[in-house]
Symmetry: C2
Subunit: 220 residues, 2 copies
């Protein structure tokens, strides 16, 4: 099995709540589950820790990260500043091809919502934002935003209040059209409001601290 697929499945397990924050991720157990060596698991865990999804404690192992409410607020604050920076650089700079790519992501988002594929919704929403960062060509913005969006996915999975994600695709579409339109003030306003809506959909009033253990979670 490919490394990226392993990372994907672990991410999925976290996003769907099958792996709760605090759950221990033992290398050997994961290696058995996916029928690969520990080395590959190791690199996957390092990658996930880079994205803030798992915490690695030296000589103690990895566990699913448990973001607190203050961290959740920080993440969305930072996303707002980073993504306005991204949007500012892209305003009026989008090629028709790039715009179509973005619209395609939004279309798939709508499908995922219609089909009730929650994990896909979270992932595609993240992909949209990540694609914007990619289009700037700035590896810094890409790297930082990938980190922030991964954390957002985990936070969304943990603190999600309701099941609706209706504002996502519409606002994404609006952002694409505004970028094409070239009015920077409007773009920045839409982006800020969109991030704010994402944050507002979460229940950040009380800490979530569940702990599950790991076994038979990966149906293989």
């Amino acid at each position: 099995m490919d490394s990226s697929e392993i990372a994907e499945r672990i991410w999925l397990a976290i996003a769907q709540g099958r792996l709760a924050p605090g759950a221990r991720l033992k290398e050997e157990e994961l290696a058995e589950s996916f029928e690969v060596g520990r080395a590959r698991i190791r690199s996957v865990l390092l990658q996930l820790s880079r994205e803030g999804l798992v915490d690695i404690i030296p000589n103690k192992g990895a566990q699913v990260a448990a973001p607190g409410v203050q961290e959740a607020r920080d993440v969305f604050y930072l996303r707002s500043t980073v993504e306005t920076r991204v949007a500012a650089q892209l305003t009026g700079q989008l090629t028709p091809q790039a715009a179509d790519d973005l619209r395609d992501i939004v279309r798939r988002e709508r499908e995922a919502i219609a089909d009730g594929h929650l994990a896909d919704v979270i992932r595609l929403s993240g992909l949209f934002h990540l694609k914007l960062a990619e289009l700037t060509g700035s590896s810094v913005l890409q790297s930082i935003l990938r980190d922030l969006i991964s954390r957002s996915s985990l936070i969304t999975a943990v603190y999600r209040d309701t099941g609706y994600f209706n504002c996502g695709p519409d606002e994404h579409d609006a952002i694409v059209e505004a970028l094409m339109g070239g009015n920077e003030d409007e773009v920045l306003r839409l982006v800020s409001e969109h991030i704010e809506h994402l944050r507002a959909d979460l229940n950040l009033t009380s800490e979530q601290q569940p702990v599950k253990n790991l076994r038979d979670i990966f149906e293989l």
Copy 2:
């Protein structure tokens, strides 16, 4: 040799310009130089890539990152937003112990400047900012800022225009005192100006694209 020491020495080599951007970092060569197995080098390189100091290209290896001028600007823009967030959270919240720790770092900065230890100056300056993030207790802010500061170190090493770092310690001291004073507006102003000064000391007018190769760089 300890993993962190290896990372430290590679960082030092980059910061001092002995390893120029674009230089290839072959695992086996590094493993021989430091007299350790490749596995340890591998994890060190992953860590450095997490901090944006090296780029890892699958099946091709690692090389020292080569930040462009636009990326340099992005880094300082992001630092400004992240660090004002940090400062806002800390205003009036610093314990006397924490303040003393910060002042101690500034003192060591002044020593390093007096002794002409350029790498120490860069590192201690970064440490000051990182310590502030640590004091917030937010792992997100810490993680993002560590990334940004590592990149800043590399950028400073590459784009440094003059040799003077005089504004650093004085402004750091001023920030500590303002944090203790509790006037948030003043704190935010000082932090913004400080980051702006850091950026202004760089020559971000033309790209730097030197390439050196790696051998006999680590005197062992």
